[in-house]
Amino acid sequence: MNWTWFHKFASPPHAYRLLGTMRPWLFWPALAMMLWALYNGLFVAPTDYQQGDSFRIMYVHVPSASMSLMVYSMMAIAAGIGIIWRMKLAHAVAAGCAVIGAWFTVLALVTGAIWGKPMWGAWWAWDPRLTSELILLFLYLGYMALRASYDDVQRADRASGILAVVGIVNVPIVKYSVEWWNSLHQGSSLSLTGSSAIHPSMLPPLLVMMLGFLLFFGAILCDRVRAEILSRERNAGWLIEAA
Amino acid sequence: MSFSLPPGELLQLTGENGAGKTSLLRVVCGLLPAESGDILWRGVSIREGRDAYHRDLMYLAHLNALKLDLTADENLKAGVGLRRDTTRAEREGVLSDLGVARCADLPARVLSAGQRRRVAFARVLLSRAPLWILDEPTTNLDAGGVALIERLIREHLAAGGSVLTAAHHGLLAGHPSARQLALAA
């Protein structure tokens, strides 16, 4: 098999230009989808018979929570590719994922707490999903802290990559153990997005919002990876020529 | 940069502090990844034949790799033990060749810097590796010690071994199979 196209794609100048071209095609559709879903979710969707209007924060909480996990998986896969095939671009993608993923996690935690206040009467309850989300945030922060503590970017790439791969093996175990832990304690059994059936008319805005979040993530990732490329290649010839 | 090291020859890297002598030695050992290019040992890239290469290689770094809480003899036994078995008599023989026979049962903590360097060099001798990579082998050694190391290196070359080294001053000056390579800062 001929791999030249792959190496061409992964070469910094090419990737830099390609990501720049892709960005608007991701960003503007993402913005439109999020605005549409926000309007429909907040004003059009019917009030929940059990939770009243407070359920509407779901339209931000659920997409953030699912993105937080997806971005972590993507980060680990990119890091794994970077380690195995010694690909600098993959490491740049992993580094870009970390910050965005951590923000999604923070957003999921904050919206979860806001949702929890009317539901449980407290800002924080040890709900299994929120607890796993909190530990996921710790995993992200550990990854970023490890990256930051190496001076040499290549060593930072590989060391943090190993951590990301170890982390992704651990994530399902953490999720399982936290659910197991919660099922034994029978504390606040009302889960935020639990089994309560969702009304069909509530669903389209949610799905569109999730897609919007995904595209938005793509657009921001383009920016971050471009910034990573710039900082790594600051002495390279193609950049000096372009400047 | 390109160089080769035939059996029985010594190549000495020279250059000022910060010229990259140690870094180059570490790249050649395979401790540091090369930015570009490749290193071949017996015709095989060291990335592919890493284990075979490391079997033939003995690296003496700036650090002596001695455990201060172990005696010189225990240090040698454990250090060389990763490669092959040694007997107490064999280890004592090499220690006395290096003039530190009476340090055998002393913890490395109480040895002087020069004595520690000699014990570290004993590990190189005991390893029986054909390729020696020596980073400043004569650091902390007195004149007698330097002469001793030079004699041991000459014997190693005569037996068909190779030596890659970095040193401030000329080792084996005038020896027919000793070459120098200057690194620019």
Partner: protein
């Protein structure tokens, strides 16, 4: 010059690494004992901070014993690889033809023998102080034996990753503690089930599963991390 091919086999190598580590631990047992002392002191703090009432202490005993064990393991990790990297021994390991992952696994086993095992042996004594009944001793010890071994393996990955960083001890805690959450959950739960006389096979099996997973995958991660660590 001919090659030397009389290198030791895997098991003989394992014996050598274990022997060297245990000898070294014996030469500075005072440092080895420090994390253990820390464990005892942390457990002692809880009755002072909460209440001398055994009924109340009994409720929190599994958590206290486990959190203290986790912190003690964390403290001990700092001396797992760092001294060997700083004195150049680890470079020699990386440059030997021997499988680095295997040597690091053996080093971690030795580390567990001197830091984890004493903690397991000491735990019934501390448990008694917190109102753990004698009937729960076997569960307490079994959960800690499996759990501290898993903590050593997970912690060793973190220790290997931070060995190339100048001051790595807080960073080490940041990396390792989130990874250890499942061990804490299953371990503490096993103890509290054991104290009420319920079946404990479930969490103990889960702990064993985590340990097996950590032993089979951990050493590869450690070896890769150590290679980065000795690059500096």
């Amino acid at each position: 010059m001919s090659r030397v091919t009389d290198a030791p086999g895997l098991w003989s190598l394992a014996g050598r690494v274990l022997g060297r580590e245990l000898t070294l631990a014996g030469r500075h047992w005072d440092q080895v004992a420090q994390p253990l002392l820390f464990y005892v002191i942390v457990v002692t703090l809880f009755p002072l901070a909460i209440s001398p009432d055994l009924a109340r202490l009994r409720e929190i005993a599994p958590g206290v014993v486990w959190v203290a064990a986790m912190l003690s393991c964390l403290l001990a990790l700092e001396s797992l690889f760092r001294p060997d990297v700083e004195d150049g021994t680890m470079e020699q390991w990386v440059l030997s033809e021997q499988p680095l992952a295997w040597m690091l696994l053996m080093k971690t086993v030795a580390h567990w023998l001197v830091s984890g095992l004493p903690l397991v042996i000491l735990s019934p004594l501390l448990g008694t102080g917190l109102g753990v009944p004698v009937s729960a001793w076997p569960v307490l010890m079994a959960s800690l034996a499996l759990g501290t071994a898993a903590l050593s393996m997970l912690g060793a990955i973190g220790a290997a990753l931070t060995v190339g960083v100048r001051r790595g001890n807080v960073l080490l805690a940041l990396l390792v503690l989130p990874l250890e959450v499942p061990v804490l959950i299953f371990g503490a739960r096993a103890v509290s089930l054991g104290m009420t006389g319920e079946a404990v096979a479930g969490p103990l099996n889960l702990l064993a599963a985590i340990l097996v997973l950590a032993i089979s995958l951990g050493p590869m991660a450690m070896a890769a991390a150590i290679r980065i660590g000795v690059e500096s």
